[in-house]
Symmetry: C2
């Protein structure tokens, strides 16, 4: 992918609000601005505008006043993209923004595609690919933990870790390649046993990173929770009790796929997303109404399952219902809890005994709650918080949040397995060297040392416009 030398523009803020920002990057950015920018009624000499300065003035096209604006000027290479840049802060009217963009475009400035500013930053060496990806992640981060991971990746912590691993492999490779150069002399520079050990150690780190993806993924996207229960067992009341006081925050989150999510709640720095199992409510048939069929389909997507029953349900029903859920859930290593709702309808002294027999029937931890009275909700939240092991977060560089990185790490690990097998089975050095190069190649994909146009296009197309 080659950088073209066009100048690009895009809005960097979304509709609404008081202020909007139009970003312009490229050789012509400052010069084109100065054709229309007047400060204190006077035109401005482009060469007089220093980097990291702000300028108040008006954008005027001929005799048409467009807006009072504030212009931020950045000089190459000290800008986000590394190019000449201006950011025009205007009033957040859709008309003004469209008018300004039209004006820029009519002066030969191109409308930027999604992520094009960050792609230029990457192409100009302002950040590596993993950092560029973190820009999109940090913008989308909805919880403290997701933000922490994205921030660490943005600051280069993750890249440093990957580069360290890659450098180790490059070192091994250079030893192996050296042997190849002298292959006719049949020398063996590297001790096979010690090298196998070292590569195994590296592979373990790669595997540990790859295995962190499951956690990283739920941190980044929120922990999916399914509430499994028949109709009228109190699913909506439970959801409302959990979401209480949190609704406002949830509705502020952009990009939540509302079609499939019934709500989301922040607990312990993480976002818990409740997956819609709406089908349950509509069925009249009893067997279907148990909700097992439909709920089971959702269990695959969930990390946590709340099996919701009523406090006065029979142990037979609980055993059967929990059993059919667990049949599917247990093999996938999900966290499951049995929650018995409407406990306020039972005498308090019965609950302890019932709790024991429910635990036995379901072979699960049991919690008695009353969603309407609000009892037991805090305990349920505590269970949710504990269901995700966050001890890894102490060293966030070891958490992979990106599916592309996960794939690259898996491919690296597979190549390293081949290397180790190769050494153990005395495969010719040429072939082992190829596998080692393969492993290095895949690690390089993460930070962008190795990239293809296709990968870049794919990555940056997911960005929002203006970034």
């Amino acid at each position: 992918m080659e950088l073209n030398n066009t100048t690009i523009c895009a809005p960097a803020t979304s509709g609404g609000g008081a202020i909007a920002i139009i970003r312009v990057s490229g050789d012509k950015a400052i010069e084109v601005l100065c054709r229309y920018f007047f400060s204190h009624g006077k035109s401005v000499d482009p060469s007089s505008l220093k980097g990291y300065t702000l300028h108040h003035g008006s954008i005027i096209d001929g005799d048409e006043f467009i807006d009072d604006v504030l212009v931020s000027v950045f000089r190459s290479p000290l800008s986000y993209t590394g190019e000449e840049m201006v950011e025009i802060s205007c009033h957040a009217s859709s008309h003004i923004q469209q008018r300004l963009l039209r004006l820029l475009i009519s002066n030969g400035i191109a409308a930027a595609s999604p992520g094009e500013f960050t792609m230029r930053a990457f192409m100009n060496g302002k950040m590596d690919l993993s950092q560029a990806e973190a820009v999109a992640d940090i913008i989308a981060s909805e919880s403290e933990a997701a933000h922490r991971l994205a921030a660490n990746q943005l600051r280069g912590g993750f890249s440093a870790e990957i580069t360290k691993l890659r450098n180790q492999l490059v070192e091994f490779a250079s030893l192996v390649e050296l042997e190849l150069d002298f292959s006719e002399e049949d020398v063996e520079f590297a001790d096979r046993v010690s090298m196998t050990m070292k590569i195994s150690e590296t592979k373990e780190l790669v595997d540990s990173l790859a295995s962190s993806f499951r956690l990283g993924n739920v941190i980044r996207n929120g922990i999916p929770v399914v509430i499994a229960g028949r109709p009228n067992v109190g699913k909506s009341s439970l959801l409302n009790a959990l979401l209480k006081e949190e609704r406002a925050i949830v509705s502020d989150i952009p990009g939540t796929t509302r079609d499939y999510i019934e709500g989301a709640v922040h607990l312990g720095g993480l976002l818990y997303r409740f997956i819609d199992t709406a089908g349950l409510r509509e069925s009249g048939d009893f067997i279907e109404a148990l909700g097992i069929e439909r709920t089971l389909k959702k269990i695959d997507e969930a990390e946590v399952i709340i099996i919701l029953v009523e406090a006065y349900d029979s142990t037979e029903y609980i055993s059967a219902f929990a059993g059919s859920v667990m049949e599917k859930a247990s093999i996938k290593n999900k966290k499951v809890i049995l929650v018995a709702n409407k406990s306020d309808l039972l005498p308090e002294q019965d609950i302890y005994t019932l709790s024991r027999s429910f635990e036995e029937a379901a072979a699960l931890p049991v919690l008695f709650i009353s969603a309407t009275a609000g009892t037991g909700i805090d305990e349920l939240k505590e269970f949710l918080v504990k269901s995700v092991d966050l001890s890894h977060l102490e060293t966030p560089q070891y958490i992979v949040t990106n599916a592309r990185h996960y794939q690259a790490l898996t491919a690296t690990s597979e190549a390293l397995t081949e290397v180790i097998n190769g050494f153990e089975n005395h495969i010719p050095t040429e072939l082992v060297a190829m596998d080692l190069r393969q492993a290095i190649y895949h690690l390089g994909e993460i930070t962008g040392q190795i990239t293809s146009d296709e990968i870049l296009g794919e990555i940056f197309s997911k960005f929002c416009i203006g970034k």
Copy 2:
């Protein structure tokens, strides 16, 4: 209303987008920022930050990295509010924005109320009240014409006009007051006849401004259009044909009250809003289905009425239907057109004759169209454009867009009528002087020379947060 000396903060952009801006204004703005802002890893001395400069760095709270930010610094009085200000550009994540706002608030900075930044700008003499109101208008402006009026008001054109009128009245008043000072000597400094003439001239200008409000209001809020017609006459097809290619723009407009609007289209720099008469479609009863009842209720809100019939309707029906609409519409001075849809189902040679008999039956201009085939749509758009007389727009300072200004102008005009009557009926000078002062008072309300806390609170509460 007194300015308190708290420092305030608020987001100035709305959710979504790539970049978000947090605005901070007040004595503590720069100092509090510097407690958490690190540039190139080093803390920054608040006194080293000059106005109109940009600074790249990180916001770090203890050991928690919050975000990479760009900070704009403004020094009092050269800022929007006239106070010390910083604007923090961060990544547009809701988590980061909330985190930054929490950090500022925990340092004794208050969350700004809507419009508080602009109110401070007004209180600190950075703009007059009419200009402050224009800030909200320019942000909300959806069409070229609305933007032009708001921009003119923002730049002080309207204020200058009002101030000129007010100064004339002040001059007259000083002559009259002079007489009062010498009242015991029974002098008459001002020639009553020439003064009556001059005040009449001023009153005419005030009246002309007041009467521009109807136009100003539709320019600012869009021209309301009602399509009156029975079910299945092709209302939806007509709407779709008019909205074609414009939908994308319309859906971008924030704040459109979707509940009552079926769509909006930009034509000739103006926004035409189609008012929902959805009730029409649901009725089964024939009389009711004529839609007269429900549509008539909407006619009050409309500037333009499209009476929609079918090309093969009887002249009797057309006469009756158009008659009942016009009965209401004609007295209100609305623009009305009879549109005969489905003209593609008729032989072309019949249309001219039919057109004549329809014109006669309805006593209205007639247009034959086919909404589905798209014929006649451009002509209809042309009618819509011509239905609003924009000749006033050449001198936009003569157009009032604000209901508060309209009320003040009406009150001024009434007081001036009393003054003129007073002179003509030889009412004692003391009483005439009171009316004159009243007129001056009301004009002063527009630019904020005269204001009450209540008025200010009312005006700024309508602003968005962060402005």
